[in-house]
Each structure stands twice: as C-alpha cells, then as structure tokens.
Symmetry: C3
Subunit: 322 residues, 3 copies
C-alpha cells in the first residue's frame, strides 16, 4: 500500500535507502531486531545462520574501511558470503557503465548490494534498476543520506535515554554537507524527539534549514543549553580550503566541543560522533575519551543494526518467494 | 592413456588449461554437471558442501574484477575457502619469481590455482611445475586460451539451440588477439558445429585462419546469412592506436552489430558477448539489451560452469588419494 | 604469576609478541600443539571448528602477501572469520590515529589482531592498549621480533634434528637489521641449543652481539664448521645503497651459500631461509633447491604453527570467560 521504493507490495522493507518516508513503527522494529542481535556479538560463537548461502556484494565506489568492515562483519555473523569490490579501481576503469556492472552481478545470483557512492541518489538509482529479487542497502550516498548510521545513532540514543519524546538533541557542525545530519534529522523527527537543534556557522547550514523540522543556533555556547544528546559531525578538511571556513583552530575555538562547553548541556548528556573523529578540530580528546562519550558504543551498535537491516531486507525476499 | 597435461593417468580431468586436445565426451560431461548446478544458484541456500575444507587461490596477474568475482562466487558456493591474490602488487614486487610464489603456496597445502596471466602459456607453465596434488584452472592467458569462457558459451548455446550439429556460428571482431575466439573455435569444432564463420577485417585475422577449421568473411552484411549464433568479441581500445584499425566509429560502421544487421541472421539467432561490452563500438545498445541477446544468461551460466570445472578437477584428486 | 604482558593472570598465553621472557615449556607446548595440526592440512577437509564464530583481523601496516596469506589460511582452517586490512591505504589516510583504529575494531567485537608493522614495538603497544578480551599476535614489528617465524623455524629444526641440546646452529647474514635473527636467537637459547653462531660482516652485526648468547664469526668458510642447522637471512636490497655493503655480487662472494661452502658444515646439515629468497644474492639456487634445503618445509610448518599459536592465545579467553 506504499509507493515507497523501499517497501515491497506488502509494505515490508526491501531496500534501505533513506529514512525519509519510513514509518515510525518500521524504525522501531529495526531497533528491536538489532537489540536481539546485540547478544550474538558477545557469544563465544558470534554467528547465526540466518543468511547462510546468501551472497552479499559490498559495492564501494567511495573508500571507507570502517563502514565496509562493519558491513562485512555483520554479514559474516549472519553467515552470508560477502564479496567486497572497490569499484573505482576495477571494471569502471574498463569503461563499463554502472548499470552494466549491476546487471552482471545480478546475473551471478547475488542477493544484496551494499552501496557506497560519492553521488547523491546512487543507491536509489541502483535499487530502481536492480532486478526484483535484489535488496539494496545505502551505505552513504553523496551528501544525501546515510540511513544505517542514523539507525545506529537512534539505537544508541534509545539505549541511554529511552523515551525520544522528552529528548532535546543537538547536531553540531557542517550540516550543509552532511548525509549523517540529514538522515539523523529525519529519524529523530520520525521517532518524535522533543527538539532537534542544529548548531553551525551560517556558511555550513542549508538554506531554509528550519523547514527540515529543526531549531537553529549559531553559537555552541548558547546552543547546548538543556540538551540531552550531542551529535558532533566530522569536519571535512576540504571545507577549509573552499573558503567556507577560516581555519581548523578558528573552527575549534568556535565550534569544538571542549569539557567546559560540555558542561553547558544537561549534566547527563551523551556525546556522539559518527567517526572517524578529528581530535582537536571538532572535538577535544578529553571529551571524546571522557565518561559522557558513547562514540565506541555507537561502533558496537553499528554491527547489530546492520545485521538487523540486512536480515529484515532479506526477509521480504522469503515472503516474495514463498 | 593420454599424454595430455590436463588429464591424470586415468584420463580424468585434473587441470583445465585449454579446450585443445579434450574429447567431446569430456566437454559434454562438463556441460551436464554444470546443468545440475544451475539449480544451486536459485536455491535459498546457494551452497553445496562439495569442496568444503578445500583451499583455492585466485592468482590474478592481470586485473579482471568480473572473472575473479565469478570464480570467487563459484568456489564459495561449493563451500571452498578462497583466497584472491593480485600478484602485480605483491610478492613479485619483492623480486620473487613466479615459480617461487607457486612453490610457497603449494607448501601451504593449497588445492587449486585459478590463474589469469597476460602471457600466453602461463597456466600451462604453472600446471607443469606444480606438485601432483594441485589442480590448475586457466582463467585466461595472453592471447592463447580462455577455456572456462568457451565452456560457458557452449553451455549457453546448448541451452538455446540444443543440437550443435545443425548450428552455424559466427564469431565477429578481433579474432587475431582473442583468446575467447581461439577457445570457442576449438570447443565448437569438438562439439561438431556445422559451421564456424569468423567475420573480421583482414588486419584482425590470424594468418592461415582457415586451418583452424573455420570459414572466413570480411563483411558483416554478407557474413551473417543463415547464422544461428553470433558471438561478438570485445574490441580492445589499444588496437585503435596500434594502426590496426582506423577509429572506433569507423569500426562500428563496418563491424558493429546493429538491429538492422542482426536481421540478416536467422530470425531466431542469439547474440552473445564475453563482456564487458563496449556499447556503440562493437555492439549497439539496442542489440545488447534486446530480445535476442543472451549476454546476461552467459554471466549466470558462468557461475555454474566454473563450479562444474572446479568440482570435476578436484575429483581427480579424490581418486588420486583413494 | 608473571608480569609478562603476553601471559594472563594464570600464566597462560594471551598475546604472542616476542619469544623473550617465554619459558621453555610454553615453547614446547606450542610445538606439540602445532604437531597435532600438521595432519589437518593433509586431510581432505582441511578444517577444524576450533575458532568457529571468532573474528580475526589481519592488521598489516607493512605489505607482506606471504605472511598475510599463511595467517589467513591458518585462521580459515580453524574456521574463524578473517578480515584483512591494509592500513597504509585506509583509515590512517583520513588522519585517524592507530589507537582510534584499534578502539573501533575492538568495539566491533573482534577477538584477535594479527599485526605487522614497520615500527619496533607496535604489536606491544597495541597489546598494552587493547581491551581485555583481545589477543594480539605479532606478525613482525620493525627490527624487533618475528616470533611466529622463530617458532616455525624451531618446529622445522625439531622435525629434522630432534634434540636441541646437541645442535650447533648458524645464522648467516644481516643480523643487525633482522627481526627473524633476534627471535630465533632467543628461541634457540630458550630451547637450549648447544651453540648459536652468527656469521656476518662486522657492519651487519649489532654492537655487543655476544651478550645475546651467541658466538661470532666473520667468515662463512670458517663459521660453518660443525654446524647442524644453517639459517640464511634475506638480504634487504636497501642495505646496498646505504653504504653498509659494497654490492650484491661482492656480498654473494663472501657470504652467499654455495654448494661448495655447504660442504664445510656437517654432512647432514639442513639449510633454512625465512623467504622470500634472493637467488644468487644470499643463497645459490643449487642450495635453495637442493636436498639439504628445508625451506619449503618451513612454509608448510608455518600454517600449523600459526594455527597452534592462534588457538592457544584464544583459549586463554575461554578460561577468562568461564
């Protein structure tokens, strides 16, 4: 009953491309399933046979060791066969189009593509053109979306704060270029957070950012007041040279999260970051390694969340077959 | 009773290096075994335990994501452990000889090498020098042979056309430099095709090509008459600059397969291509994506054929042990 | 009862970083366990389920196809999941510190790091900072230690010569820069070899080398007298240009192992080399491929030894959990 590309005709998750358009209950289902997988990672035998005999291809057009590693570990712990392809250096160098690459992998009876691409919309494009039996997971596309990151952030927030409806969440840094920010804003709105506050210099905010359902602050000192959850964004060093920002040290002076500034938030506020962190640029090491930081917890939760999303998307295939 | 390097003392397949010298019955056995594996790729659990605990090493001295991927998937679906090595960037850079690399991998109790190499005869050389318990599969050597590609082509032809003895097959393009063409001509002759017609400009044909058991045409328009199967070859862009060919557009004008030209073949002719295709160079997109194209079927069949060849070559080891 | 970083509170092996400080019995236990694994590599199904569901990450900051391959095969034959990361080209390029990389992988519930690094002490550093449940195996750190190589060398010596207490072992070549030499000297001393003789030009010996428990010779002709085991070291070509050595041919003239020189040792002396060998630089091909060479036996034993060390280090975790 949905024309959302991500759902099959029964409204079940088939692709996972963006948080946009997904209903609250579906997000909650993902969080609940991930919770059941947390234990798997602590067992002596960290493996369940849910996706045994399935072939998953990591299609990474953009390099990211960390994200690729979490998807690979998640897939192996579900007992799937995984194949990682760095596409920049492979078939496209022979001039093959993206669509031909996809068609060929499909023909090899692959079940799932995990796609990372520098161009916004790449994962959607692949999902639109892939044959019916294939699921596509977006592992980050341009400046558009990074929905598995958003879901692991939601999981981490729920782990520490339970009820979303009472939470004030600050997202700090380069909102303009951040797919993490976009997906997190959508997820927090869907899950009903009390307030989502973006804190950034004007040059790093999208035009009409308020229409995304957020409040805006241009000062970290003012903006952290009453905040329960602080999501720091990674500062891309490229921004420095593009005249959007004066310098790293200047940025840190205004928007870097220091222990002093952290005190301006609620005393039990948690600090999050999608990683890899730039110590001394957007975050002080004392905060990153301090007691309020849940950054490594996010990494751990990332395995369980990706297991849950892969398992759920693959399930739609079973009902499709059966 | 054979002095063919590819067979063991009982005449069973041990290495798979070239179609040359293999008997018709052996080729048919491979096709039949592959047919039994087609179902595996459609199952929910795409895995059979035939090669469980076997170690297969992909030795790719020449880059080919697609071929490496099919071998990797085929090996995993047989439950083998696979290790892919890109040799250009590894031990040979420390000045180790090919033979030392082989000796070392053998010593690690590897069971099979899948070899891709830019030099003709490389797979033979390795098979000659490898220790007794090892099987070598040629995944393409220089301009010499690409026998697994030929077998998947034969499989695809049989799938659509059954009886080889009535078939007229055209191979179009750069016959001179093509290992795919050489292996296909040998396989088609062994399986008893009625006619194998090579269609190419004179500069892209080997001297005395007729001795290979083919008829020759220098015009696509004339050559396609009465043809049941059209095998298009990939045009290597290097040929353009080497003065063997005038230009891409000129080539397409003379030897590109367009919908109009395709009509000159039999109405139910199938169109094949080993991939990756150069759209608009050797083949028009309308043909490549059209109803007579079986190009993606070839890719699918490639998995089953490689499973069959690997399983059969490994079986000889069992009888050798037992 | 040991403050050795490598042992847990019960004195069981947890990390394997260096031979230094390990007791003779522990080394013998590793050799014995490896012996029980030799059979696994000869079986039709070369796999035992000892580390099923464990996640092992190969962290190779220094390129080494051969060593990485043996660790990967060893891990797969123990049924572990293995993930190989070439770190030079990955996250450190985004400016992430070594410690952040480690922390992140830990958070993914990894069980073991196999570390290769160009800087002496890197594996120790990681073991010191890794969380409690993780084992670290040193696969070579700078010029410091290569303990798994030393153990496979000990295994090979025991295989051919049994009793260490009667053996005179020569180590020939660039002792100064060799982590293999350091680890072998320590292992031979611990296992009670009768004599360890280092044979090298003065420029390639550490200051006060005698304090390491070795005798010294500067001449291959004199030094090989009464020797049972000859361990040749690989000559790093970099040494040539750094003025420590005149030229390759000069070096071969003085310290290359030829069939003539080999006759100066005991008639049943064995010749070893950690590989990859430089034919005609430190060793004549006739010797490397001759009847007294056990170089490929070393490679085979390397799989069993690495299986033993990984299994033993992981066992400490079981007793730690239980």
């Amino acid at each position: 009953m949905s024309n959302n590309l991500q759902l099959n005709s029964e409204g079940k998750l088939k692709h996972f491309l963006t948080i946009e358009g997904l209903e609250k209950q579906l997000l909650v289902d993902i969080l609940d399933l991930a919770e059941s997988f947390i234990g798997v990672n602590d067992q002596r035998i960290k493996k369940i046979p849910l996706l045994r005999g399935k072939s998953i291809v990591n299609l990474f057009f953009e390099n990211s060791t960390r994200t690729r590693t979490t998807f690979e570990l998640a897939a192996k712990r579900l007992s799937a066969d995984v194949l990682s392809m760095s596409i920049a250096t492979s078939s496209t160098s022979k001039g093959e189009s993206l669509l031909d690459t996809i068609r060929n992998l499909e023909a090899m009876y692959v079940d799932m593509f995990v796609v990372r691409h520098g161009i916004s919309g790449a994962a959607h494009f692949i999902a639109q053109h892939a044959s019916k039996h294939i699921s596509v997971i977006n592992a980050g596309d341009g400046q558009h979306a990074h929905p598995t990151q958003a879901m692991l952030d939601m999981f981490t927030i729920r782990q520490f704060k339970q009820d979303f409806s009472k939470l004030r969440v600050a997202i700090v840094g380069d909102i303009l270029h951040s797919r993490v920010a976009r997906s997190n804003i959508q997820a927090l709105n869907t899950l009903g957070a009390a307030e989502i506050r973006v804190i950034a210099p004007k040059t790093l905010l999208p035009a009409q950012v308020e229409t995304m359902g957020v409040t805006v602050s241009h000062s970290l000192a003012d903006g952290l007041k009453d905040i329960d959850v602080i999501i720091m964004l990674r500062l891309q060093k490229e921004r420095m040279t593009s005249a959007l920002l004066p310098s790293e040290s200047e940025y840190f002076k205004c928007f870097g999260l220091t222990p002093e500034r952290l005190k301006l938030a609620k005393p039990d506020a948690i600090v999050m970051h999608p990683g890899p962190i730039n110590r001394g640029v957007e975050i002080d090491s004392k905060v990153a390694d301090g007691p309020q930081s849940v950054i490594l917890k996010q990494v751990s939760n990332g395995i369980a969340i990706r297991m849950a999303i892969m398992a759920m998307a693959m399930q739609k295939q079973e009902s499709f077959d059966g």
